[in-house]
Symmetry: C2
């Protein structure tokens, strides 16, 4: 059984190698055919972001931009891409290594004139490779700086690590902080679960509150601590659990426009990584709260909306991700009451209110429980 | 054996209750004795921070400030303290619950006129209680928002959780991200270890690098990912491992003045929590790098110092925590070369350079290995 994990790893490495070498092969053949080397890829400007009705996620549209050796700038870009492919194939894929984007920037010191002049260049090149190959950078063993989510709930996983497989039950085998997901969640295999739903939570305080109050046990819920704006690995594991295991997903954040965007990045994708929405978005994810209507109904302790909050809400009124009647009503209500509330404000009604009353009511209305 | 964990928990709860009720008892007795209720505690202004030669850490000096009911402001402070003690004793200690500082702010809605007007008031009150009782807020079951460190290495621990004890070996029983320490590291018991030293690491990328390169196995090192400026729980667990198990501690950060302060907060304490230095500082911790002399010796890829960097370095020249010949030389060198470098810059010399060459050289010179 533990072969499955390493088998999948090998498959992924193989696919990645094929796609990366596909690029250099293309350039090579262009040289042979005496064609000026070039690659076209979707333009990554805001003007080219589209909301795909079909898949319900953000994707890049039809505009393309070209990297071509007919300009010096383009030639440099292609040269750096080739150096990067060489490094990724020979060091990462063939030797089972990995690096951060930051390390890649320093590694390029060894590429002579192809050295990156600044960190963002390195980041953009890896994004290019993601778009050209159609693969997440995790397939090339590129790791991020920040950790992904911790999770806690009735699910048993197997994580493939360099030192062997680890089978971990996310209630029984871990400490109070939960299971820290690895940067590459393709290394996780789901073994078994008893979960009725997944609840993705914005703040550490609320995540700890649900664990302390035994919410996971009482309702058979997998708790995922998003840690604010969720990392790619977080979004990916939520999607995998939803689609591979058929477990519904709800999202519980603070009640302000920045937090609604956290929900949107889980459900619909983020503009920055639009080429990966189909890997990372969970269109079936639903928003629990804090809704503006909850602020009114439960008379939560609030703060006034700032000018930036108001601008963000107005912007959301014309954002296709919030285009439903539900969101228009809620956002309009919030603009009317001019208040926002944190999810931890429920503590004002007692430490058990959120798990005894608010969530059961809300999830009952949503037909989750 | 698993009794030890819960036994210690009960002891801590008992001590906390005694100290907290000590405050309200004092106020009560003052009422009985017809003395205007008052409490004195060390002044928390910068002017009152002293560097204790004796214990090598930052502590508060002799200046005191008084909370007294002779003013309305003072009366309110004492009333809020009493409400907080009531809540902490009855909800946290007697019922085994916990809350975040944020939740406490909302809970005060139920205290009538004693309600907190803003979050910082709640934070300052808990700091007052820490100073008055001489106990870390973890003893009152106050939790922070942010996670502490993850760690990876040859040590086996037992974590006491509400759902029972968890025995976890920090290489064999965990995923690739490591063991996520809980917010209250008093709940951890050290069972066994094979560690020769602890290396506390600033960036996620370098932490992952050391894990991937098997540095923990090769040198019997416990790797601790500080996640930037370390949380209290992180500083506390490092101190405990150093003092209870006698394991040396080294700190490996980027080479810039902000990172030197990360080292200083581990070794000497932070100004903000000076009353807790004796709980959280590890005076025996040593600095590995990146040293300014390493930048020169290894010809690392650098960035120019900004004006803020330069100001911070100059400020450190008169900071008692950096008062040694070693630091003065290093800081002066950095001001001369006008450069800073990240720890991940070692990747420029190859993915294995930091673990094959730099760290063994440096730790050899420091007589750690």
């Amino acid at each position: 059984m533990s072969d499955n994990g390493s088998k999948q790893k090998k498959e992924h490495d193989s696919i990645a190698k094929e796609h990366l070498l596909g690029l250099t092969e293309r350039l090579y053949n262009q040289f042979i055919d005496e064609v000026v080397p070039n690659v076209s890829l979707p333009s990554r400007t805001k003007a080219n972001i589209e909301y795909s009705e079909k898949s319900d996620v953000w994707v890049y549209g039809d505009r393309e931009s070209e990297r071509s050796a007919k300009t010096v700038k383009g030639a440099f870009q292609l040269l750096k891409s080739a150096e990067a492919v060489d490094f990724l194939v020979n060091n990462h894929l063939d030797q089972g290594r990995g690096s951060t984007l930051r390390e890649l920037y320093y590694i390029s010191e060894n590429w002579g004139i192809a050295k990156f002049r600044e960190q963002p260049e390195s980041d953009r090149l890896i994004e290019d490779l993601e778009i050209i190959t159609g693969l997440q950078r995790e397939y090339f063993h590129m790791r991020p700086e920040e950790d992904g989510a911790t999770m806690f709930g009735p699910i048993k996983i197997r994580e493939e690590t360099k030192r062997g497989a680890r089978e971990i039950h996310c209630q029984q085998d871990i400490g109070e902080s939960g299971y820290q997901i690895p940067f590459n969640v393709e290394n996780i295999e789901f073994l078994d679960h008893d979960a009725k739903f997944i609840i993705a939570i914005e703040t550490g305080g609320m995540y700890a509150r649900l664990i302390e109050n035994g919410f996971d046990e009482k309702y058979n819920a997998i708790l995922v601590h998003l840690k604010g704006q969720p990392a790619r690995s977080t979004r990916r594991i939520i999607k995998r659990m939803n689609e591979e295991l058929g477990i519904p997903v709800v999202v519980f954040t603070d009640g302000d426009p920045w937090s609604y965007r956290i929900y949107a990045s889980i459900a619909y994708g983020a503009i920055k990584s639009a080429h990966l929405s189909e890997f990372m978005a969970t269109p079936a994810a639903k928003f629990v709260g804090v809704q503006p209507s909850d602020i009114v109904e439960y008379e939560l302790s609030t703060d006034k909306l700032t000018d930036k909050d108001i601008a963000a809400l107005r912007s959301e009124l014309s954002d296709p991700r919030f285009e439903s009647d539900y969101w228009r009503e809620q956002i309009q209500l919030q603009l009317d009451i001019r208040k926002k509330a944190e999810q931890q404000a429920f503590a004002g009604k007692g430490l058990d209110f959120v798990t005894d009353t608010y969530l059961p009511n809300r999830l009952g209305d949503m037909k989750i429980i």
